[in-house]
């Protein structure tokens, strides 16, 4: 009887222990996935995937050993190197702001990495070097080429997007590799970081052969600390993986601008990720010019969500993959969109802020970089911070910097210029420029092209050298007042950038990267050059040596050397007079 009682008590005790210890040990983490499909004014379609994992653990302090949804590779990286915020983006293509509108999240062409370190990190440069090497391994990208010649420390742009107390800009590092190419090799490890991989949920749509057949492809990883709740007493870590792709459906859609999920991704959605707490698809069906809708979405959405995004009121059709009624009629969800009437191309709305940049000049000696920034708001002026990073071999002359708006000179209220040091660091130019309403601002600066050592050229030197995109950060005034968003309740695409007040929204734009040719030496000639130059030096040495060590003498007649005597012997035989 006692034995039976003990046998009953043991599992009960075990159960009690587990129940007691359980909530204390496991840290809560949650995954939300979301796909936003927005038709762009020119007829292209932009698809933005966001996967947000939030983990209520303090990576910095406690030794965390049990990783569930948060990828272990990134978690250990953040803990070991003292990273406060990490933003890595790999992009192929360029977002055409002027025709496509303001992007939800833009990244420059190539690879961009910017990191805020914790104040406890003593040697930030060493941590930065280690971080870029580790990330290069995780993402199979050549991030190990990030070194002091392409890293800068901006002072005004790139403020922290997560929680921050005190911002000493010496803890920030920013680098761009404009030459970096993005391909399947980078997509695969990115997909592996997702909790469901590419097997369930929205990630089944991410197939490489369709994703890279697009006008713009950008995949990014953002890690930042956020408040755990409204009182903000504890810190949670948020990992957002975003992928933006723009398909040119007009070119591939047999002349029609209708699109569907199957046409774009050659897959349809079958279920939600079982680990996700929320899995939604949003389709932008905002009416233009308040007319009858010009698009029709099938299957009809279960609900419609209205939000003020980037200063404009927008309407979204919502498909909740976790709701049981969605897959009632068919096993798969294939969102289709048809245009009711052809869109008037003159109605293309221009975004309030857009920019372009180009190189002018001729020849391989000098040149000029010009940036044009457009403010199309009819009556509001606002300031913009421009960050330019120019490699050291294009020597900028800051006394030639001119900023002209509407024909008059426009003096920036803040300039931070750090000149380049040869082979050590690039130029950094940050300016705060006020853009008057409805104006174009032209910023020009002249540069001189340097001749590099022959080993410093890439194997294809006549392709040119890339200058990374310049960054424009601005608080653009919005047409409609925006309410503060609650991160947990609202869609993910509205909560990436913290908004300070409802009257403006934060926008970060990138300009085009530039391709500049440098004069090249002849690469086949090292030995010849060394020989010829040393010959010239030797000529000087020889002449001076002769003149310094020898003196003038009257010439003594010599009896002739061996050759002369031999010649005389032969002449004697021939019967010719001797020399």
């Amino acid at each position: 009887r006692g034995g039976g009682g003990a046998m009953l008590a043991a599992p009960l005790l075990l159960l009690l222990l587990l129940v007691a210890a359980g909530p204390g040990r496991a840290r809560r983490d949650a995954l939300r996935e979301e796909l936003l499909l927005s038709p762009l004014p020119t007829g292209d379609v932009a698809a933005t995937f966001q996967f947000r994992t939030r983990w209520d653990a303090d990576l910095q302090r406690g030794a965390v050993s049990h990783y569930r949804l948060f990828p272990k590779a990134l978690g250990r990286l953040v803990a070991a190197l003292g990273v406060r915020e990490l933003h890595l983006a790999l992009t192929q293509g360029f977002w055409r702001t002027r025709t496509w509108g303001q992007p939800p999240l833009q990244a420059p062409a190539g690879a961009e990495l910017w990191v805020w370190f914790q104040p406890t990190v003593t040697d930030v440069d060493k941590a930065w070097k280690e971080l870029s090497n580790i990330l290069s391994g995780i993402f199979c990208a050549s991030l190990n080429f990030i070194d002091s010649t392409n890293t800068v420390t901006p002072t005004a742009s790139f403020k922290p997007l997560g929680l921050a107390n005190g911002t000493d800009h010496h803890l920030l590092r920013y680098a761009v590799l404009p030459r970096e190419v993005v391909c399947t090799e980078n997509l695969t490890p990115w997909k592996k970081l997702l909790p469901c991989g590419s097997k369930a949920g929205l990630a089944v749509l991410l197939k490489a052969e369709r994703l890279f057949h697009s006008s713009y492809h950008s995949q990014a990883v953002h890690i930042r600390p956020v408040c755990r709740d409204d009182s903000c007493l504890a810190v949670s870590w948020e990992l957002r993986q975003t992928l933006t792709v723009v398909f040119d459906t007009f070119a591939s859609g047999q002349g029609k601008k209708d699109w569907s999920l199957f046409k774009m991704f050659s897959r349809t959605l079958t279920d939600a990720c079982p680990l996700a707490s929320q899995s939604k698809v949003y389709v932008d069906i905002s009416p233009k010019n308040k007319e009858k809708e010009l698009l029709e979405v099938t299957p009809p959405p279960a609900s419609v969500h209205e939000a003020v995004v980037q200063g404009d009121k927008k309407t979204y059709a919502v498909y909740d993959l976790l709701s049981p009624s969605l897959f009632n009629t068919s096993r798969s969800l294939n969102v289709q969109l048809k245009w009711m009437r052809p869109q008037d191309s003159s109605e293309l709305p221009t975004p309030i802020l857009h920019a372009q940049r180009y190189v002018s000049g001729y020849g391989l000696h000098t040149g000029e970089i010009s940036t044009l920034i457009y403010n199309t708001h009819p009556y509001r002026a606002f300031p913009v911070i421009l960050l330019e990073t120019v490699p050291w071999y294009l020597r900028l002359y800051v006394h030639t910097l001119t900023i002209i708006t509407k024909g008059k000179e426009n003096k920036p209220s803040y300039i931070h210029y750090q000149p380049a040091q040869d082979r050590r660091r690039p130029h950094l130019l940050e300016m705060l420029i006020q853009l008057p309403a409805n104006s174009v601002t032209k910023i020009t600066i002249q540069f001189e092209r340097a001749l590099l050592k022959w080993t410093e050229y890439t194997p294809d030197p006549n392709h040119g050298f890339y200058v990374s995109s310049s960054v424009l950060s601005a608080l653009v005034p919005s047409v409609i007042a925006m309410k503060d968003v609650d991160v947990e309740q609202s869609p993910l695409f509205t909560s990436l950038f913290p908004s300070s007040d409802g009257s403006s929204y934060f926008v970060r734009l990138y300009t085009e990267p530039l391709l500049v040719n440098l004069p090249t030496p002849d690469f086949s000639m090292p030995y010849n050059v060394i020989c010829l130059t040393c010959t010239v030096v030797a000529v000087c040495y020889g002449s001076f040596y002769n003149l310094l060590t020898r003196t003038f003498h009257v010439e003594e007649p010599s009896r002739g050397g061996l050759a002369k005597r031999l010649a005389n012997i032969i002449r004697k035989f021939r019967g010719v007079p001797p020399l």
């Binding site: 020849g363 391989l364 000098t366 030496p521 090292p526 030096v537 002449s543 002769n546 003149l547 003196t551």
Partner: protein, 438 residues
């Protein structure tokens, strides 16, 4: 003699003023033969603009002038053209006065040696007469002011002109030679060495010393010799220290030392110029870079002591050869440096009959000067040539300069031999003899 000099100065100033106002001024300022990374005007303006922005001009790799230039141009930037015209005029006037004094010295020495019977009897035609030497100072000033190289340097506002002025004053102070001017000489020397490379100071120091030897015989055991050397060295070091401290106090940092002297010595900037360094180091294997930098820098000043030993009786010729070698082998030469030693050529016009290759060398120099802009345009703008073309002209130009200097040296030594041994040399058997260098 003052009136022709004033006329020459006026003509020179007019030419420069006309060129400043024409569209050629922008074209000339861009030329790499005239403006090097060390002395381009664009970089001086950039340095001052950086100072206005609150950034040290030496924190970047664009500005490589000494802080004395910042001092000078901080207030005079509006009158830059005037400053450069005045420096050219001052250089010419300094050279004029120096050569005038030098002629007097040469004359005195000739008379002394004739009285002491040091010369052979039949060298009457080799002796210089006051008649032919009368116009030499004017010719020197003319050669300097109206030399196209100098005019281009001035129009491009290259700080090489200021360099040349300091050297000219140094030469003037040296030739004047009395006690007062000795102090001036060492001051000028230290200013000059601060302005340009420290390397140069070493040999110029010896140069001056050799000149003063005329008045104090060199006996290593002699106390007055050592006393004099110590005096001079102390004076030189003191003025050097004063000027370096002055440079330090401008920006309160020692940044200028790696930016100016480190830059000259290590040649990191490979912008093409008329020298030999740029392409050599553009094509150099990394492993040997340091070795060849050292070899090339040593090349600049290791001719000093041998030349000093050989030319101890002729300090001004020694100065000429030394300045020429420095301007050929310095890390960033420009045509302004070439113009300075070319201004001395009228002083040795009596050597004309002994020069062997003067025609071909002058042709080489003129043709190369004309080809420089052509091949630059073909490489950089037209894209139909490559860097080898410009490099070849650089080589030829430098060979031309080297052979020119060594030709003058040969002619000088030959004349000295004839002066002491007679013009008509006969062999033991009475036939005419040949003179060879053995």
């Amino acid at each position: 003699m003052a009136a022709p000099l004033v006329l020459v100065v006026l003509v020179a100033v007019t030419v420069r003023a006309v060129l400043y106002r024409s569209s050629l001024a922008a074209f000339i300022s861009e030329r790499v033969e005239v403006a090097s990374p060390l002395n381009a005007w664009k970089r001086v303006v950039e340095g001052l603009a950086l100072l206005d922005l609150g950034v040290s001009p030496y924190s970047g790799a664009v500005f490589h002038e000494t802080p004395l230039i910042i001092y000078l141009f901080h207030f005079l930037i509006e009158y830059a053209e005037l400053v450069f015209m005045i420096t050219d005029v001052l250089t010419a006037v300094a050279l004029y006065l120096a050569i005038q004094d030098f002629n007097k010295v040469v004359f005195r020495k000739q008379k002394l040696l004739i009285e002491l019977d040091k010369y052979a009897p039949d060298v009457a035609e080799l002796i210089q007469t006051p008649m032919e030497m009368h116009y030499i100072p004017l010719k020197v000033a003319l050669f300097y002011l109206l030399n196209p190289y100098t005019v281009m340097s001035c129009v491009a506002k290259s700080t090489c002109a200021i360099n040349n002025t300091v050297i000219a004053f140094f030469i003037l102070a040296t030739i004047k030679g009395n006690a007062m001017k000795k102090k001036n000489g060492s001051l000028c020397l230290s200013i000059k060495s601060r302005r340009s490379a420290v390397i140069k100071s070493g040999d110029i120091c010896l140069l001056v010393f050799r000149f003063q030897r005329q008045f104090i015989p060199v006996k290593l055991k002699s106390k007055s010799f050592w006393l004099y050397t110590m005096q001079y060295a102390a004076l030189y070091l003191c003025s050097l220290v004063v000027i370096i401290c002055l440079s330090f106090f401008l920006l309160n940092s020692w940044d200028f030392i790696p930016s100016v002297y480190g830059f000259i010595l290590s040649v990191p900037d490979l912008t093409p110029n008329i020298g030999l360094f740029w392409y050599f180091f553009a094509e150099m294997f990394e492993h040997f870079s340091l070795f060849f930098v050292c070899v090339f820098q040593i090349n600049v000043f290791f001719y000093t002591i041998p030349l000093a030993i050989k030319l101890k009786e002729h300090p001004v010729f020694f100065m000429f050869v030394q300045i020429a070698i420095i301007s050929i082998f310095k890390s960033y030469p420009t045509v302004g440096d070439v113009a300075l030693y070319m201004a001395f050529l009228p002083v040795w016009s009596h050597l004309y009959r002994f020069l062997r290759n003067i025609f071909i060398l002058s042709c080489v120099l003129i043709v190369c000067s004309l080809l420089f802009p052509v091949l630059w345009h073909l490489w950089i703008y037209a894209g139909s040539a490559n860097s080898n073309f410009y490099y070849a002209i650089t080589l030829t130009f430098n060979i031309g300069q080297i052979l020119l200097v060594s030709d003058y040296f040969y002619a000088f030594l030959r004349r000295e031999y004839y002066l002491t041994h007679g013009l008509h040399l006969t062999r033991q058997d009475g036939t005419e003899a040949m003179l060879v260098l053995k």
